[in-house]
Symmetry: C2
Subunit: 346 residues, 2 copies
């Protein structure tokens, strides 16, 4: 299955930079007053804030061992949307001893999806809302669709060229009935994934990473890992280069064929055990200027993927999301050489 | 007038990397056998190859004074399209003493434009081909349109943070009659422009650059400079940042309301006098690490514009052009910091 076109990353549908209000400290909840304590919205918000806290703590622990000082600690920016709920908390580390740039962000969005985005995301529901899809096309009569989205997303770029970049994103969507089709069913789905982008292929690390992802998937359903691994390979593809961005991992969207309870924390706990052991092994590997230059060229590819193809980024740029939050995924530095020739390392 | 959506840069509609044949040396002409010696196609090819030679010579002369050696000379890559004419010549300097990365490329393309691209590029001609535009929409019956495109394009990134980046591109298009509407008129137009992107605003330099552009325009038509300056400002706009890419220059497209003779070398001779005096003044300006870091951040913006908005680049990436030629416009290195705060320089 090709990746769905329907679920932009919540981090990127966040507040527009002109509207948002920066806060002194993160609010206890980013939800609107009407959302109940025990609702899936509330429980998923707690889940993503727990993941944010745990991943940041794990990275800071690595920095503390490395004696990084202030550069190795996360700085937090919080914002809320005036009059309506929703907001975000970005935690960014820039200039650690081990991590050059790392961001772990949560956000909650109450928005309205244009009808065509809804049709792309939920073709079956759109057809139902349009009364079965006869006549002038599936769901074309449905109006804008109010939605709720919450997610955690992260990109971690280490300094050492032998230590890989990590990306993960876990999100939950709910739509209300389209405004012109109040009888349509309410929809919900989960999306997300974790993937690894090394500059140098070290099989031990890649095997470890994939085996942790597989274990996390297999606990739920033995079909998950092969499906979500392929989806990841298909999604993180730099078409104009004919290259994948990294060595994959898992990627999924539109996941709603289990009960919400089961899916609430699917795969989020695999992030730390999949990544931190690799960092521990590679953070102090000696390297030369040539290794660093190669890492920089690979980071150029990362920039190309994110600016040209990544759905969350391109959607966010088009819709006026908070630019600093959207582009925090880009590496600190990158490099483009004309017609670079690869020489075998001795 | 908003920029036309119709004229991708010929450099980017060049050969697909799998089809093209690299040549030992540039062919005497990139044209097909059938195109005559005195035709506008032939004369424009000579014009852009002259511009390429002169700009490369001017930059190499700067490098020679700086004692750059081999790093300060252009390397040439030539290719032709098997069986059909068309091809390109890229000249790239990477690692000069003054210029970090500079590329000046010419290319000639014989291609076929999809009907909707033709309608976007030439609405009047498409209407004529459809017999006046009655009934089912303007020009919707026209088939694919064979076209000829030739152009020179260049991006020059100097090392010194006080020396600005230059971009220019001059191109000529011809379309034949749409295949399903042989009676439609043959169309031609010129497009192009030259624009400057400094990291630091130095008024003397910007005034010099614009005054040379204005002089070049005024020789043809006093309305050109104000129109083409505004078009440039509108085009080189990084929407998600609310910033222009640089300080402008001129940009034009669809230019066909003069005789071809007049337009053949419009503005191409202004490149060297507009740019080289600025380089001479700024190439040895002392700078600090902070100046360099700021330049790198500005280069990040250059990457953002080119990968997200530039029509030639995005079109080239989508249509499988030669990647090394398309992305040679990117700077050697770039930088992205989260939430960078600008301090006033003392």
């Amino acid at each position: 299955a090709p990746p769905s076109a329907g679920s932009p990353s919540p981090a990127s549908v966040g507040p527009s930079s002109s509207d948002d209000e920066m806060e002194e400290a993160a609010a206890e909840t980013l939800l609107r007053g009407g959302d109940e304590e025990g609702s899936m919205r509330a429980r998923f918000e707690r889940e993503i804030r727990r993941v944010q806290a745990e991943v940041c703590a794990a990275l800071e622990a690595v920095e503390e061992v490395a004696g990084a000082g202030a550069g190795g600690r996360f700085r937090e920016d919080s914002w809320t949307r005036p009059g309506g709920g929703g907001g975000g908390i970005s935690r960014v580390m820039q200039g650690g001893a081990v991590f050059e740039k790392a961001a772990v962000s949560v956000s909650v969005v109450y928005g309205v999806m244009p009808p065509d985005a809804y049709r792309a995301a939920r073709p079956d529901a759109a057809a139902a809302a349009a009364g079965g899809g006869g006549g002038g096309g599936v769901g074309e009569k449905a109006g804008p669709v109010p939605f709720f989205a919450a997610g955690v997303s992260s990109v971690i770029h280490p300094r050492n060229p032998f230590a890989p970049t990590l990306h993960f994103n876990y999100r939950y969507f709910e739509t209300e009935a389209p405004k012109d089709a109040p009888g349509a069913p309410r929809q919900w789905w989960f999306g997300g994934g974790t993937d690894l982008t090394p500059s140098y292929i070290i099989e031990e690390d890649i095997n470890h990473f994939h085996s942790v992802q597989k274990q996390a998937c297999d606990k739920f359903d033995p079909t998950f890992y092969p499906r979500f691994k392929k989806w990841c390979d298909d999604y993180f593809y730099i078409k104009h280069r004919g290259e994948r961005r990294g060595v994959g991992g898992i990627f999924f969207d539109d996941l709603n064929d289990y009960d919400q309870e089961t899916l609430l924390n699917f795969a989020t706990d695999s992030v730390i055990p999949a990544y931190i052991p690799i960092i521990e092994r590679r953070k102090d590997t000696p390297f030369t200027e040539e290794h660093k230059a190669w890492q920089q060229l690979r980071r150029g590819r990362y920039v190309e993927f994110n600016l040209v193809y990544d759905r969350g980024t391109t959607f966010g740029l088009k819709t006026g999301g908070r630019i600093e939050s959207i582009l925090v995924s880009l590496p600190l530095t990158a490099r483009w050489e004309y017609d670079h020739v690869i020489f075998e390392m001795p």
